[in-house]
Subunit: 257 residues, 2 copies
Amino acid sequence: MNSNNGITILKIGGSVITDKRSEDGLAWEEEIVRIAREISGFEGKLIIVHGAGSYGHPQAKRYALTEGFHAEGAVVTHNAVKALNRIVVGILNDEGVNAISVHPMCCTVAKNGRISDMYLGSIRLMLEKGLVPVLHGDVVMDEVKGVSIISGDQVIPYLATQLKASRIGVGSAADGVFDDKGVTIPVITSMNFDEIKAYIGGSAGTDVTGGMLGKVLEMLELGKTSSITSYIFNATVVGSVSSFLNGENIGTAIKDS
Amino acid sequence: MNSNNGITILKIGGSVITDKRSEDGLAWEEEIVRIAREISGFEGKLIIVHGAGSYGHPQAKRYALTEGFHAEGAVVTHNAVKALNRIVVGILNDEGVNAISVHPMCCTVAKNGRISDMYLGSIRLMLEKGLVPVLHGDVVMDEVKGVSIISGDQVIPYLATQLKASRIGVGSAADGVFDDKGVTIPVITSMNFDEIKAYIGGSAGTDVTGGMLGKVLEMLELGKTSSITSYIFNATVVGSVSSFLNGENIGTAIKDS
């Protein structure tokens, strides 16, 4: 395994572990088991962030949470994604990963839809003690909007910057970012982004947080501010998660230049 | 209802809502429903903190968590009390309270068993928006011991001090604090504490956090530092929770002088 002493952040997309066409949350538990087994051999410091998929996006739409504050909607949407997190963390522990939930709702404040403050004291100590914090896209309190939805794709660059992560993998349901001919683009930088932006779509199914274009934008910004390279790869492919954790450069690399 | 504009903190003891003799967590759901209905009319800013009861204490003992760090023990114990919190928050919402979980594990760091840091940004905004944060006794990361157990009785004075709460009620399974003849002591201050200390026992059943004596010590300290009066009352009595929320002084009052 990778001898890297830094922090690795692994995103598991909502489309990898849930059926995004479901209106009420349907988890692909066999896929979660497979991914948990690929993670279980990893010995470095690891943070996992998973998407909400059908545990959160449909609920957020139903209550129009992106439009404004709705107390019941916030509670229902948050509880939906917590239910998925419980499945993920349960399976990770079954497979030998000392995973522990960190719910952004408990430790994060946003301002107009962007994270303005996230408490990292617990996460730092978890990493020191060999625990694996598992975060997720969530509803969080917002100083301006009351509540807002923070995608996993926004949590990752925040954590990466604050904790000086060394390696980021964004496991999605596609082989990477495609060009107009459906071929994976190997590298995206701020130099070629404008040219290829038009090819990059949203995600299939219900997604209130911006799909693939949202991911690329977050990772480009991260490359700019922290010189970290992120990899968007296909986590539905058997072995891809362990390949990433082993230090291989797979999928599309996103960096500043 | 009480016209108080300040923050009220209500503790619901683990012995009120669970069978503490159980080794694996047994919740008294009918009691939780009754208490949730007594809470549902309250219009002020409210924080609820519940004990772990048999969802946490037996697990913590099994893994000897007070003796030292144990990754699996921390995860299992934390997940046990989260399961109770899910029941409590679910019933509160069913009864019309916009309750939302705040797990200390996600937002608290301890130092040698005492809270050294708790993130309050989310809680402050929840209170502003009319949501009711529901915290609980929990396992949290500890800078010295790896993890430690933070009782609800420790969370309350911390929150009360930091958020300048105006009213604290500790709903336990006894009518208050008893003297040597089994009569409820109406007021405990630092003046009479030494004299009555000997009467005050631990709690019945499994409790790793100090029982009634622990509660009184926390509340006395709070009276000393913040001039807040706390009430220990019997939350198993029908109507007691709404009496407290209505501003009545029930049970044993604990204050500095």
